[in-house]
Amino acid sequence: MKTTPDKRNRILRRIALGALMLLTAMAQFVPWLPVVYGARAFPLLVLIAAIACYDQPASAVIYGALAGVLWDISAPYGTYHAVFLAIAAFCSAMGVRYLFNQNKVTKVLVPLCITTVYVLLRWSLDTLAMPGITFAQNTTMLLRESLPSLGYTLLLAPLMFTLVSLIVRRTSRRQQRVLAD
């Protein structure tokens, strides 16, 4: 059965983004990205933010859920990451499509919001899970680990956005070339 160019592009895009997601998950879990003075990077967050900005909302939700499932395999909180990333991808994609246009500001705000909410939620869960933790220890964890992790993660945002936009443009351009022919 012949596939149309449009369908072919979509399949190519899905495969490329899926492979990028797997590579990013490897980089996060193995880990290829070093821990710098207690700060960890969460590149999956900025990747899902990038996909939400460039791709369709429905597929962004699916990618968010899949990325979260990959994360949950090694995390202690059940399906927390899958649920979080699915909802975050939905909110970001719907916001970019219906509320504000995609521009340089949204490309900064979307990963910033997703990463900040995640880091604060994670910090809350981690401190709640530790009985007897003092306010000083709580604050130290926030300042020494959570906030530096936020900064470290956001440093990867330009790379992720570049890669996702490259994949999306390449598949879109091919579609335009085929249509022109």
């Binding site: 797997l22 998950a25 490897m26 879990f29 193995v30 880990p31 290829w32 070093p34 821990v35 710098v36 003075y37 207690g38 369709q56 909302p57 429905a58 962004a60 939700v61 699916i62 859920a65 899949l66 979260g68 499932v69 990959l70 949950d72 395999i73 059940g78 399906t79 899958a82 649920v83 699915a86 909802i87 939905f90 994609a93 719907m94 219906y98």
Partner: protein, 276 residues
């Protein structure tokens, strides 16, 4: 708002959340098995993770300078504590081995000489003279049955003789002490003699049998043991082996230079023959 609720993305989100909820609840009923979603994803990703971990191990050392200093310090402190504990255990282990070796020697001696009685003792002081170990102080004395004149041995080897016995300590003159004269014989030819240490030879770690006839059958490599004559040392305690023969004064006699079997610098435990 209605557009939002009716959009395909909303339907996909609701469906995904329902699946995740179901997948997350199943392990509670499955009692310890992973959720089906995690298992399915794990089948696909575990080969990739194995490869990625193998690749990461190859480059991990490059990133180590960027690791948190306090984290590394904690690891170092914990490992140092563990090393310290292991060192203490190692000391106990070595002591246990030495103790077992001493008991084995004692057992052998007792088996060979059923009428002998021993008092084990440890060396707590060493006296050197001109580089030779001429005397020991032992941590046992007359309260343990030790008296002056008792032979001191280690295994089948002669160490010396008790010179003085206090209540809880005693002084032993070794075979390198010029005051100790040992009645000996060469085990092959039965040639008898008296072994005495001269300061020059003692410094080199030897004792000697002097005044031997020029025709003596004693030669280098022969074994020298106590002869039992004189009543102080029982027979057949090993004194040493003949290292060389050298001429005596004015070349009228020969001297057999004897190298003891024991290393007196590393000796820590001995037995005092309290009854023969």
């Amino acid at each position: 708002m209605s557009r939002l609720l009716k959009s395909p993305a909303t339907r996909v989100l609701v469906l995904v959340l329902a699946m995740l909820l179901l997948g997350g609840l199943l392990p509670f009923f499955a009692r310890g098995t992973a959720s089906p979603i995690s298992s399915a994803v794990g089948v696909v990703t575990s080969p990739l993770q194995t490869f990625a971990a193998w690749a990461a191990n190859g480059v991990r050392d490059v990133a180590s300078p960027f690791a948190s200093a306090s984290y590394l310090q904690e690891i170092v402190d914990a490992q140092e504590e563990e090393i310290e504990a292991l060192r203490v255990q190692l000391i106990d282990y070595h002591e246990a081995i030495q103790r077992a070796a001493r008991y084995a020697e004692l057992l052998e001696l007792k088996a060979e000489h059923t009428h002998w009685q021993f008092q084990p003792a440890s060396i707590i002081g060493v006296e050197h003279s001109a580089g030779a170990v001429v005397a020991f102080t032992l941590n046992r004395g007359s309260l343990s049955g030790i008296r002056a004149g008792m032979p001191v041995i280690r295994g089948q080897n002669l160490v010396g003789v008790v010179a003085e016995a206090g209540l809880t300590t005693s002084t032993v003159h070794t075979v390198f002490n010029p005051h100790v004269n040992i009645a000996v014989y060469e085990t092959l030819s039965n040639e008898i003699g008296v072994a005495t240490a001269t300061p020059g030879l003692a410094m080199q770690g030897y004792t000697a049998i002097t005044q031997l006839d020029l025709t003596t059958p004693i030669a280098a490599g022969r074994l020298i043991a106590t002869s039992g004559l004189g009543g102080i040392f029982p027979r057949n305690l090993i004194v040493g082996t003949v290292a060389r023969m050298q001429p005596g004064a004015q070349y009228l006699h020969l001297t057999a230079v004897i190298e003891p079997a024991l290393d007196f610098n590393t000796l820590r435990d001995v037995f005092v023959l309290t009854a023969q």
